[in-house]
Amino acid sequence: MDVEDGPVDTFRARVRQWLADNAPEPTVNRSPEEQLAAAKRFQAALYDAGFAGITWPVEFGGQGLTAAEQQVFNDEAADYDLPTDPFMIGMGMCGPTLVDLGTTEQKTRYLRPLLRGERIWCQLFSEPGAGSDVASLQTRAVGDGSDWVVNGQKVWTSGAQQADFGALLARTDPDVPKHQGLTMFIVDMHAPGVSVRPLRDMTGRAPFNEVYFDDVRLPADAVLGEVDGGWAAAVTMLGHERVSIGGSVRRRHDPLAYTNLAELARRTGRADDPVVRGELAELYAAERALTLFNSRLRQEADSGTPPGARGSVAKLGGAELLWRAVRVAGLIAGARTAAWDPADEAGEELAVAINATPASSIAGGTNQIQRGIIGDRVLGLPKEPQVDRDVPFRELRVGTQPRA
């Protein structure tokens, strides 16, 4: 559909051919362990073919190409259900932050295994008392010689049960205001004292975890960025997260995607209904407008204008899109959305998607937080009065819980 010339076209042809030859068939009946092993094999193949870390530096295993090639890859990959989920946090958030802030040693040590699918990463920011207000987190890292000793609890950690490494944000100085006493660490998830418990979400599944740190020792070179400079590192990573979430490809099998809802309407004989047609058209328009916005962001990035806080537009737009799709799904499928025969394996897809939708406007920063980011950072509107800005962390009330 896109008309392009030159190297990008060649790249597209190469991607298309490779995916046609190598994309695995979707698997349903494998064990989680088998699925993970297959995902790792596929990631290694991606790496070997030159499609992992497309925009990352060549010296650390990347391809040194532009966002245009990344977009081409994403566009082509949208036609497949690639088993890349376990690597999303690493590829989308931790890796780019390592590229930005890591020492040469850290980059050399961590990036290539990440790209080759040998190591899985997770992000350890949120806590029960620190959700939107990440900087109010209570997990402590206390210096002990050149080491650090970590105690505390994290929550909402995607993929922690599979992860080899985590990017941990912890408080290293509670006597200064909350943003000033944080440090980011690279933590070995297999280290003694780290325990992971699955957290069931409202879909009944457990894609998230609680992670507990009990006297976990970290070496000095685990610090990513500066000691007590963790907030800057977190902002960098959260920026990558928003772009990653907002710009992420709609999966071919996503039951709330326009294409699949239009197909559902045809299958259920609802596609001739003018109301359904109108709602489907609006859904398409919203989805396409967002896709085009994301493409524009990438093209601007290629011309030297990084997306910055505009990633929040994509994140917010993606959530609003899903909520619209939930309404359209109900319109098309009626009561069939709400109940299905146990023998119908695909029956629950729509229900699970509907139950997963609130995550889109909560996880990775709520819609409210995204609007604040756009207002403050993109539009330059005046900040709200910040009652806790200059107060030492020790004296703050946080979350709904007693202080640690």
Partner: protein, 370 residues
């Protein structure tokens, strides 16, 4: 037109609320939900046999308490608030309303007292494969065989259909649509509990293979379908209003106590105004409910319009409120262990149970004479 509860009705509300606080706290709701039964027989006995709440719209002479829809709606509100695991909607609302509407003396005699006392659980089966009310006529047929009626085919989306002692099914008979009563243990009746988006609202698919049935005589079958559907809309509205009141309460409590950025999140306009919108939706839905319930009791001529209004308006509104409740709880509202998701799922199911939004709007438009 009376839109406020009188002191007796408020008393009834308190009684039911207290009962459910004791016997249907969230922990119990979850036990029943995780168990396989789909309802709590002990709680059902308390609600029906002990408090006599299953026969509120049944006259005293026929075994009920002769109260009315306003009172039944008060009960349904509280059941909705608590997500109480009892087959009240199916039995004390839909099935009772169907029997009353059918005006079949035999059926009344055989069923009504049991339904009113709660000894008999009823369910209504008007829907076939697409879930639309009345569509059972496409999948269920009735024939006269060996001196009696038998049913063949299937129905689906039957609320509490897995535990019902009596199923009232809408089928195609040789002369057109008709209602039939089928015993839960009839020969040739197969029941499959469906998997549901809402784990607190069991539904079933029923298969009929030469299943003996009693054919209801009396009222026009299509008119009965409409009458029951109107009353079902009002009953669902009552549940929704109860749910809205509960999730609003939860959300206000949470946002008062949850601190982020040094102050309670409820002090932020984004959260506060969200709560205000929830409140507005809830208050308007409650007003619509009171009117529709009043119409059911005192102005039957207004009921078709009032019921269509209630369904079209409160179905989407209650889902929006339930979704906002999850949102304003942030991460914790998205966990399985928090109750917010149960309301979210119930509200979505409730919105779709009588058919998709455009059907509800069209029904209202028709009745308005647009």
């Amino acid at each position: 037109m009376r839109l406020v509860l009188d002191s007796e009705q408020r008393q009834l509300r308190s009684t039911v609320r207290e009962l459910l606080a004791d016997h249907a706290p969230p922990t119990r709701v979850r036990e029943v939900m995780d168990g396989g039964d789909g309802y709590d027989p002990a709680l059902w006995r308390r609600v029906s046999a002990e408090l006599g709440l299953a026969g509120l719209v049944v006259s005293e002479s026929r075994g009920g308490s002769g109260a009315g829809h306003v009172e039944r709606c008060v009960v349904l509100e509280e059941l909705g608030r608590a997500l109480a695991p009892v087959p009240y909607l199916a039995s004390a609302a839909l099935a009772v309303d169907t029997v009353l509407a059918l005006e079949d003396a035999t059926l009344e005699q055989r069923l009504l007292a049991g339904l009113a006392s709660g000894e008999r659980i009823g369910a209504v089966a008007p829907a076939g494969d697409d879930g639309d009310w009345g569509s059972a006529t496409a999948s269920l047929t009735a024939g006269w065989r060996d001196g009696g009626w038998v049913l063949d085919g299937h129905v689906s989306f039957v609320v509490s259909g897995d535990v019902a002692d009596t199923v009232l099914a809408y089928a195609t008979a040789p002369e057109g649509p008709a209602w039939f009563a089928v015993s839960g243990d009839a020969a040739g009746l197969g029941r499959t509990r469906l998997r549901t988006l809402d784990p607190t609202r069991p539904m079933a698919r029923l298969e009929f293979a030469s299943t003996p049935a009693h054919r209801a005589d009396g009222a026009d079958p299509a008119a009965v379908l409409e009458a029951v559907r109107d009353r079902a809309a009002v009953a669902l509205t009552a549940e929704r209003v109860g749910m809205m009141s509960r999730v609003l309460e939860m959300t206000v409590d949470y946002t008062k106590s949850r601190v982020q950025f040094g102050r309670p999140v409820g002090s932020y306009q984004a959260v506060k105004h969200g709560c205000a919108d929830m409140y507005c939706a809830y208050q308007q839905a409650e007003s619509v409910l009171r009117y529709a319930a009043w119409a059911a009791d005192h102005a039957p001529a207004e009921l078709p319009l009032a019921a269509a209004l209630a369904q079209a308006h409160t179905g989407p509104a209650s889902f929006r409120v339930a979704a906002d409740a999850v949102q304003l709880h942030g991460g914790v509202g998205y966990t399985w262990e928090h109750d917010a998701h149960l309301y979210y799922k119930r509200a979505k199911t409730s919105e779709l149970l009588l058919g998709a939004a455009d059907q509800q709007r069209e029904r209202l438009a028709e009745r308005l004479g647009v």
